[in-house]
């Protein structure tokens, strides 16, 4: 990477070229690590993507600067994500590999946790029925209940409001009832 200083800025701006360069340079080494530690190629793809998303989230913090190479950050975050994943599925995967040790890196812990929450919220949202997804999306786009009722062909704004309540409640309950939610909160 020619300019480590600029890379965070380019990540924050979401420049496609920088992500391609990151994949090209670092994806093989992290994939090799995941495959050597009870993981699959699919696991490697997920972990690497999550690691980039964590850095992307961190890049929004104006005070954040790189104190090591981007590869060092990516590797540390990927290892931690993978370790958390193994711990979560320990009953399925057997014992933890001895060589896999958690790398303490508090500076990314909140971003890692946020990334996990983000994935949980998106997953639960995707499981809602179509009408619920549309109502919530339109509401978050700051549409009024009159506009939502019209757009979705609902009988009245009051009915749209009632449906919005039911849809949000369903989403909140499905998130709260997920076993991983409690560990994310603690």
């Amino acid at each position: 990477m020619t300019s480590e200083k600029n890379i965070i800025e380019r990540i924050r701006l979401g420049e496609p070229a920088v992500f391609r360069k990151i994949y090209s340079s670092y994806f093989p080494s992290i994939t090799k690590y995941i495959l050597n530690n009870q993981g699959s190629l699919e696991d490697a793809k997920d972990v690497f993507q999550d690691a980039i998303m964590v850095i992307y989230e961190k890049s929004k913090d104006p005070s954040f600067t790189l104190n090591a190479s981007i590869h060092t950050y990516l590797f540390a975050i990927s290892k931690n994500l993978w370790l958390k994943n193994i711990r979560k599925n320990l009953h399925k995967k057997g014992s933890l590999p001895e060589e896999l040790e958690l790398i303490e890196n508090d500076s990314f812990e909140s971003e890692i946790q946020w990334r996990e929450k983000e994935k949980l919220y998106r997953t639960k949202f995707s499981l809602l029925d179509d009408i619920c997804k549309k109502i919530i999306t339109l509401f978050l786009q700051k549409k009024t209940m009159v506009e939502i009722a019209t757009e979705l062909g609902l009988s009245s704004p009051a009915y749209a409001k009632k449906r919005k309540y039911k849809c949000k409640l369903k989403l909140l309950q499905s998130i709260k009832s997920d076993p991983s939610y409690k560990s994310l909160e603690s």
Binding site: G14, P16, F19, R20, Y23, S24, F27, P28, T31, L41, E42, A44, K45, D46, F48, Q49, I52, M53, Y56, K117, E118, Y121, R122, F125, I136, T137, F139, L140, Q141, K142, K161, K162, Y165, K168, L169, L171, L172, I175, K176
Partner: protein
């Protein structure tokens, strides 16, 4: 956390900055005192932030596409190593299977051979030279063996002599006496290891009605077949022995031998 409709509507208005000053102040006062409301607000804020962040969602899609592209690349670049590993793993698997099969076969053969008695040994264990005097004591025959020099040859175990002397006996002998002599000839033939000839006589005696030798013939036929390693026919003759009479030494011996063979 069960949020009622009114509270959820307030949370939505608070997060989308739609509350006026008074309503906002009242809501924040309630918020300070109510941890459940704080939790509900925090969760709703995070959900709104996540679902409204289309930039992150677009970036995720871009990264997923890159992941697929570089994942395939990684797979194709490392394809040479994978089959080698697989090949080694397959070879190990087949070696283990072959070893298990060989061990299983050896154990099965050992068990089978150990369990299956040797028919010649069984013959040796069960065969006893037929004692004419035993039969003669219980027989109602009028034959007086002591008067005949050839029967003395049998009693002296001169079986070849006995066979020579009984080869051409006169036709005037009674049926009963002829059966006696034929049976003793069969016994002498067994003693001299002429099993086929012995079997011919014994089969004839077994299939002839009204002979006192039916069960004894079946028993010795079984032993003769056992000596010839014909276990199947030996078993058939042993079963015949037990069917002809359910008492006496031939019956009990046949039962015991059957148990050993089955």
């Amino acid at each position: 956390m069960n949020v009622d409709e009114k509270t959820l509507a307030q949370i939505d208005r608070y997060l989308s900055d739609q509350m006026d000053g008074d309503e906002r102040m009242t809501f924040e006062e309630r918020l300070d005192k109510d941890p459940a409301l704080q939790e509900a607000l925090q969760m709703n804020r995070e959900i709104h932030q996540t679902l409204a962040d289309t930039t992150s969602l677009d970036l995720e899609k871009t990264l997923a596409a890159l992941g697929n592209e570089f994942g395939q690349k990684y797979q194709s670049e490392n394809a040479d190593q994978a089959p080698q590993k697989e090949h080694k793993s397959n070879r190990t698997k087949w070696i283990i299977i072959a070893t298990i099969l060989v061990i299983t076969t050896i154990v099965a053969l050992y068990t089978l051979l150990k369990k299956q008695p040797n028919s010649q040994d069984l013959y040796a264990n069960y065969y006893e030279t037929y004692d004419w005097s035993d039969q003669n004591r219980s027989s109602d025959t009028t034959f007086e063996p002591n008067d005949s020099d050839w029967i003395q040859e049998y009693q002296k175990a001169n079986f070849d002599e006995f066979l020579t002397k009984t080869n051409n006996l006169p036709d005037t002998l009674t049926n009963s006496l002829q059966y006696n002599i034929q049976f003793l000839r069969a016994m002498a033939l067994m003693e001299t290891q002429q099993f086929d000839a012995s079997i011919t006589i014994l089969e004839e005696l077994l299939n002839t009605s009204n002979t006192a030798y039916k069960q004894a013939s079946a028993w010795y036929l079984a032993l003769a077949k056992l000596h010839q390693k014909n276990t199947i026919e030996a078993i058939q003759y042993l079963e015949r022995t037990t069917q002809l009479s359910n008492r006496g030494k031939y019956y009990s011996q046949a039962k015991r031998l059957l148990n050993e063979l089955k």
